[in-house]
Assembly symmetry: C2
Homo-oligomer: 320 residues x 2
């Protein structure tokens, strides 16, 4: 009997689903916008019917064993399969996601948080292929991550482990959304780049980031800072350089704590790779412990938008 | 047939051995000073004959299965069982410890680094009993540690993981022996306390740490700072308070990354518990992520000098 894995990546903007073989080949995939207008519960009901349709169409006529894997944003209590304060689905705090899906779909279902799913996807089919001990970092609006130890995601006591975005890098740094100060996230996220850019423009007396009026500046995005860097804007280049140094400090911690073979970095901010990775590796080489540092490879994610979907399918494959 | 575990803790000052049952009862133990005068190789040869004698005497007349577990300072390449730049045994860099012991003693032998052995000992019979996900920290001359994930020590790719003493807490902080700057070790170790005390005395214009001449001050030890704190010396109290805050930042990282049930803190500097733990838990409560913070217990080590020996015995018990 054929086995098919259905990987589902529930993002804040888009939902992606794929039918994936146990070898990791994507047979079919779809993507549609996440509709939160009717609230989290209605979104979940819609998701269930979409998954059912997708499974029915995708496996038509083939006698098969099907498993579902779902990646969602935000912390999950992995023992109970319950969402904890999901950032994109605020009304689903305490929602028993695993139980709900298993009941509605009647198929074996694995759940995982999106950053862990990204990490597993890159380990299965992407830039961390073959590694048993590795770390994943997603540089997006925030900074997420996952840690794989001896082939398994580090969940910790309740599934809340692996928050690499909330390592303290500068105890007197800016306030972070998590309640801490100077976390990796306040430097290496899209929001962090935006903040650092506005600070740098303020400091420079308004120079830099070409052709921007004051009004435009307030709305500046990290993508625009990236474009400015590509055009050689000095402020943008300095911001990415500084961001890279802080990311390097984060990697020092990961390298010393986890002795990973690889650290894979993805997420939309990682498009600016060439503008930050130099200072990242410089800090890593200056500061990390020798044995660990000589072992580790820092690699750019390869699966693009499919990483989360692939990782979700992988959790279904490994479901016990 | 009875099973006996022989736990051996090779410290820089003392070597401790115990015969331990699979339930963790210590049947017999000895301790003698580490003699490094003839170099690391002679020390190892001496250790082998001591272990043989100890096993022969300790198990006389009992038909038994015996396994040896050894904890030694410094990084070990766990795949190959080779010492890497051991701080107390500099001439044993690259020494194939596991192979050497197995050949000389002809018994199944497990090796582990001393900080991991401490952590396992406290998890087996001490303050972290019953926890499957926990961290250990030893505050000594330096700061060591171990991480247990789902019941197993986190070794990483080569056994160099778990260096909690070398998390960066302050990127502009003092140089650390590891090559980094502002690591936990420069604040929370005996050496760190000594340095912070001398800096504080300098800053205060020589006041504080009562009854100390300038000559005495240069030789001040962290034990003397602890004694001064007990007598109410303001500088000593402030140093432990500051040290506790930095330790708290380290715990924030551990809590956010590992979602541990417990963090067990031991080592000789932890005798000053009452003088630093207040600021440690304050920082932890201010800055760690809520879900993780509400779960974790910060506990003082319970096994005293036996932790490393017990943990070494435990690694023998779990030898596959």
């Amino acid at each position: 009997m054929e086995q098919y894995l259905v990987g589902v990546d529930v993002g804040g903007t888009n939902i992606r689903m794929g039918i994936v073989t146990p070898e990791g080949h994507v047979l079919k995939k779809i993507q549609y916008p996440t509709d939160m207008s009717l609230g989290g519960m209605a979104m979940m009901e819609g998701l269930v019917s979409k998954i059912k349709d997708f499974v029915r169409e995708g496996t038509r006529g083939v006698h098969s064993e099907i498993r579902i894997g779902i990646g969602v944003a935000g912390p999950i209590d992995m023992r109970r399969g319950v969402l904890i304060a999901p950032p994109n689905l605020p009304d689903l705090h305490g929602f028993p996601l695993r139980e709900f899906l298993q009941e509605k779909i009647s198929l074996p279902t694995a759940i995982e948080n999106d950053a862990n799913a990204f990490t597993l996807g890159e380990g299965w089919k992407g830039a961390a292929r073959g590694a048993l001990n590795y770390c994943g970092i997603t540089l997006g609006t925030g900074v997420g991550g996952g840690i794989v130890v001896a082939g398994k995601i580090l969940h910790g006591a309740e599934g809340l482990g692996g928050e690499v975005g909330h390592m303290v890098l500068n105890p007197e740094g800016p306030l972070c959304g998590c309640g801490g100060k100077g976390c990796l996230e306040v430097y290496a996220s899209g929001n962090g780049i935006r903040r650092m850019t506005l600070e740098a423009i303020e400091k420079s007396g308004g120079k830099g980031i070409v052709h921007k009026s004051k009004e435009d500046l307030r709305k500046i995005t990290s993508e625009e800072v990236f474009e400015a860097a590509q055009k050689g804007d000095e402020i943008a280049l300095k911001v990415f350089n500084d961001m890279g140094s802080y990311l390097g400090l984060g990697l020092v911690n990961l390298v010393n704590l986890f002795n990973p073979e690889k650290i894979v970095i993805g997420g939309k901010v990682s498009r600016a790779w060439d503008y930050f990775i130099g200072s990242t590796t410089e800090v890593l080489h200056q500061r990390a412990m020798k044995g660990q540092r000589e072992k580790v490879e820092i690699v750019h994610a390869e699966c693009g938008d499919d990483a989360g979907m692939l990782g979700a399918a992988y959790t279904a494959l490994k479901l016990e």
